[in-house]
Structures are given as C-alpha cells and as structure tokens.
C-alpha cells in the first residue's frame, strides 16, 4: 500500500486542482467555524440567532461537525475528479499496461480515500480542540464526546468513497459531480421522506449518505429544537453500522466493476 500511495503522490503533488480543493476544505472549515463561533454568521431575525452558540466540550464536536460534514463534500468532488481524469486521459489503462494489476489501481485509490478521510478528520479535530478550548477555557473536558471524531471519519470515508464509486462508474467528471450532488441534495432526501412516510418511519435515515450525515444534525438552540420538532440524531451505533455497510457495498461494486469490464 505504501508503494501504491507513493505513486499516487507523484500524480498529485503537481496537480493544482488537488491543492485547490484541499484548500477549499481547510479554508472554508476555518472560516465557517469562526463566523458561527463569533456570531458573525447567524440564522434568524430581530437579534435572535437560532444556531447553537454552544462551542464548549462536548457540544463543539456536533456543532463544528455539522458544518464540516457539509464542507467535506469538496474532498468527495476531488475524488470524483481524480478518478474520472484517469478514465478521461486513459491513464488508468496505461497504469495497467505498465504493470499495475486492476485491483492495485483500485486499492491505490482506496488508499487515497483513507488518507483524505484521516486528514479531513484530523483537521476537523484540530478545529474543535482550538474552538472548544477557547469556549471551555481549557482542555479539561476535551475527551467528552470525542467519539464524534470517529463518526466524522466514517462520514468522510463514506462520502469520499461514494465519490470514488461514481467516478469509476460514470467516468466523466461533469456527469459524476452532477449525479453526486443531485443524489445527495435531492434524490436521497426525497427517498428518505418517502420511506419515512410510506414504508417505516425512521428507516430513511439509514440511506447511503444520510446514514452518516444524520450523525451531525443541524445544531439549533435546544429551545428551537423543542418548538420546531427539529430532527434528533438517530441511534449513532445503528447509523455507524449502516455507514460501514454502505462503504463495504461501494467497495464490492467498484471491485466487481474494475475486474470485469474493459478499461
């Protein structure tokens, strides 16, 4: 795996889009965290901000986690672009012609998914520690709610490996990005509503992207939550199990695809 990642690094280190999208993730996460933390970004009117302003431990994990869980989309976009570029410029074929096995090609990309997920999680963690440390006037309670770090990793891995699968199946970055956003923002929400209302209430939350996204629900004030019936986070353990299941399914589909079709 180390050798495969070394080859991926040679491909990436001079690729500008890679650095731009990493910068988008890091920059936007810092910007949004600071703006919400400082009360510059608010939702509401007449001086009332319904967004949770609780940034002490353990609230900071869920509060920053909500924003980070959206911004990590940029890393999924990056994965889509990287994989579809390989197909568009036929460098995936060349890698195999040069001696990589088809599975090595796939595993190299999965290695990248893992590295990006770990990197995104560490950056998220650092943000939470800094902001939480300021809000809590110290790091004494830092470990409270730290399991959210693991959940965030799972969410990042879920999103980025879903991007990898779409890039692999659709081979064109424009189409894959459109399908990703269309599915994430519209189709899955409609499916969730349909399943919850017509099939069985509470099952919709275990759909592929929802399963880990719902671990970080919108951080509204507690009062607003009780008034508006804002969604509570579902059972984290079941969400995590669903997330792992979907990630395994993406891998099985991707593996079957890459082993059986013409490149």
């Amino acid at each position: 795996m180390k050798a495969l990642l070394a080859i991926e690094w040679l491909k990436l280190k001079r690729y500008r889009t890679f650095w731009w999208l990493l910068a988008f993730y890091g920059g936007l996460l810092i910007l949004v965290t600071l703006m919400v933390f400082k009360g510059i970004f608010t939702v509401g009117a007449n001086g009332i901000n319904i967004l949770s302003s609780l940034f002490n431990f353990p609230n900071v994990w869920k509060n920053v986690g909500f924003w980070a869980s959206m911004i990590v989309d940029f890393l999924a976009f990056l994965m889509i672009i990287l994989v579809s570029n390989e197909y568009q410029f036929r460098t995936n074929r060349q890698n195999v012609i040069d001696g990589q096995t088809r599975l090595q090609f796939l595993h190299a990309k999965y290695g990248l998914v893992l590295v990006l997920s770990i990197g995104a999680t560490l950056f998220f963690m650092l943000n939470c520690i800094v902001v939480g440390g300021i809000a809590s006037s110290g790091l004494q309670n830092m470990t409270s709610g730290i399991n959210n770090v693991l959940y965030f990793f799972l969410h990042a891995f879920n999103l980025i490996s879903f991007g990898l699968l779409l890039g692999l199946l659709l081979k064109r970055s424009g189409i894959a990005l459109s399908v990703f956003l269309g599915y994430q923002l519209i189709v899955e929400n409609m499916l969730k509503a349909f399943i919850d209302s017509r099939v069985y209430r509470g099952i919709g939350t275990y759909l592929p992207l929802q399963s880990t996204d719902d671990m970080f629900p919108i951080p509204v004030m507690e009062m607003v939550r009780s008034l508006t019936n804002a969604p509570e986070a579902p059972s984290l353990i079941w969400s995590a199990i669903a997330g792992v299941f979907w990630c395994c399914l993406y891998y099985v589909i991707a593996r079957r695809r890459i082993l059986t079709t013409d490149l």
Binding site: A3, A6, I7, L10, K11, R14, Y15, R16, F89, R90, T91, R93, Q94, N95, V96, I97, D98, G99, Q100, T101, R102, T260, T261, D262, L263
Partner: protein, 294 residues
C-alpha cells in the same frame, strides 16, 4: 522457448466478433508482426494481452506461467500515448518507474535515446504528436524490458522518426529483446519482422516465419517486340504459374527462381528475341493482399 502463448482467444463487441478463437505462440528473440487491415482485431488482441480488455473466452500466458507481474517485464505502447498531461516527461516516467518497480536512473538515458532530453521538464500537454509518441517509446524502454509490445509504433512520426524507430527495433532485437509489433504498414514489417501472424476480421489466417506465412512468389519480367507471340511461347515454359501483362512487358510468376539463361535460350529457340529479362521479388504487400483477399 515461447515468450507468449495464446490459446483460443475470442472477443465480441455486441454482435461484432472482434477475435475468433485466435491461437499462436511468439518464440523468444523474434520480431513478431501482428498484421491485418484496419478493424482486423490487432489492437483488441494486444489490449487483451495487456489486461486492459477482457476476452470472452480463451487464455494466454507470458513466459508460460500465469503471473500478474509479467507486464512489468514488458515495455508496451498501445494505441495513443497516455500520460498525465500536467506532468513533465520526467515526472511521468517516475510514475512508470514506480509501477514497474525499476530504478529512475535510466530516465535520462531513454529520453536521450528518443530525442526528448532537451524537453524533459516540459509538460506533456505541450508536446507535439510525434513527441508524445517518442515519450511513449521512452516509457516502454524504461525498465529494460525482455519483451517490447508496440501497437503502430511509427504513428505520428516523420520519415526520419520512422527510420529511427526501425533502427531502434533492430538494435534491441540484436540485444535479445523480443518485439511484438502490430502494424498495417507492410513496408515496416518487411524491413524488421522475422515472424508474423495475420488477422482478418478476427480470424487468424496464419502465423509463423515471414517466408512461410507470406509465401512470396518469384516474378520475372520479360518483353519483346511481339508481346502476343511472347505470351504464347512463355505459356509452355516449365514452372510458370501465371502470366500477367504489365504495360509493355509480361510478368511470369514462379514458385522458385527459374534458370534465366535457359529461359532466354528457350525464347530464342522459339523465334522470340527478348528485349528485357529481369528478376523481381513479389512485394510483401501483394502477398498480403493475396492472403487476405482469399
């Protein structure tokens, strides 16, 4: 010993059968041409041998062992050169070296061999078609391959470039490298190949040493003032397979060279004085056309 053995490979694209039960072997230290008109299945076959295409049936083995790492010992150029457009020649070759698990120390050497050393730090996207093809050849040579597999290697090259590649192929062959080359340029094949396999619409028409597969008939061109009389006389000359008028001359086809003095004497004795008597070898192209048209 064979470097490659192919057994009953078939491949279809929908209703189109691109390869039909193709079997042949490539002996070591040969320059093996895979010939065929456009659409005959050459590139499909090479794609299967390099695992970028999946065959519907049949098997193949490099070095007579099912080995996933075999491709690392093969230098290959398939269709168009595929490289990372935003990287330089050197960075692209570093990736190839990483995949082939070979040293990066030969990068400058292969760029020098292919005339790209001066542009080694320029991005691939700034290269002309000929330069891209040269980089692909440099990449194929990087790991000192035991087998070189080239699909139309002279595509996009100017006449000087074509001659350079031909010389390079001959040099590598003399050093013991086995070369498998798909081409529709028979002139190229005639100059470098020792063995051939001929494909037509997915069927293997034959394979083996060039002389055996593309049996080249011997042609003698004769002319006289009375071409009609000459034609009548020549029909009774022993060994003539076919007579064919060619402008003001007559072409006689033989399996082996006839005794030219005897032929001259035969005509003279029949009252025909030859104005021209010339040996010609049938071109590979006409042998090929003969084979693929039947």
């Amino acid at each position: 010993m064979n470097v490659l053995t192919i057994n009953n490979i078939s491949k279809a694209y929908g209703p189109v059968l691109a390869l039909k039960n193709v079997s042949f072997a490539v002996p070591r230290h040969t320059v093996f041409g895979v010939l065929g008109p456009n659409g005959s299945g050459k590139t499909t076959l090479l794609g299967i041998l390099l695992d970028v295409l999946k065959s519907d049936a049949g098997t193949f083995q490099w070095w007579q062992q099912p080995d996933n790492t075999a491709r690392r010992k093969i230098g290959a150029l398939l269709e168009t050169p595929n490289f990372y457009h935003y990287l330089s020649a050197v960075d692209n070759l570093k990736i190839v070296a990483g995949i082939k698990e070979c040293s990066e120390s030969r990068i400058d050497e292969v760029l020098e061999m292919t005339g790209l050393l001066a542009r080694k730090h320029h991005k691939f996207q700034t290269y002309s078609l000929g330069m891209k093809q040269r980089l692909a050849i440099a990449s194929a040579l990087l790991a000192n391959p035991e087998v070189l597999l080239l699909d139309e290697p002279t595509n996009g090259l100017d006449p000087a470039g074509i001659a350079e590649i031909r010389t390079l192929i001959q040099e590598l062959h003399s050093k013991g490298v086995t070369i498998i080359m798909a081409s529709h340029l028979l002139d190229e094949v005639e100059k470098v190949c020792t063995h051939v396999a001929i494909l037509k619409k997915g069927d293997l028409l034959g394979s083996g040493a060039v002389d055996e597969v593309l049996h080249q008939q011997k042609v003698v061109e004769v002319s006289a003032s009375d071409i009609t009389r000459l034609s009548q006389v020549m029909q009774s000359f022993p060994g003539v397979l076919k007579l064919e008028p060619n402008h003001s001359a007559l072409r006689l086809y033989f399996n082996d060279w006839p005794d030219m003095a005897a032929l001259n004497r035969f005509c003279f004795e029949q009252g025909v004085v030859l104005e021209q008597l010339q040996q010609r070898k049938q071109s590979l192209e006409s042998s090929f056309m003969q084979l693929t048209n039947n």
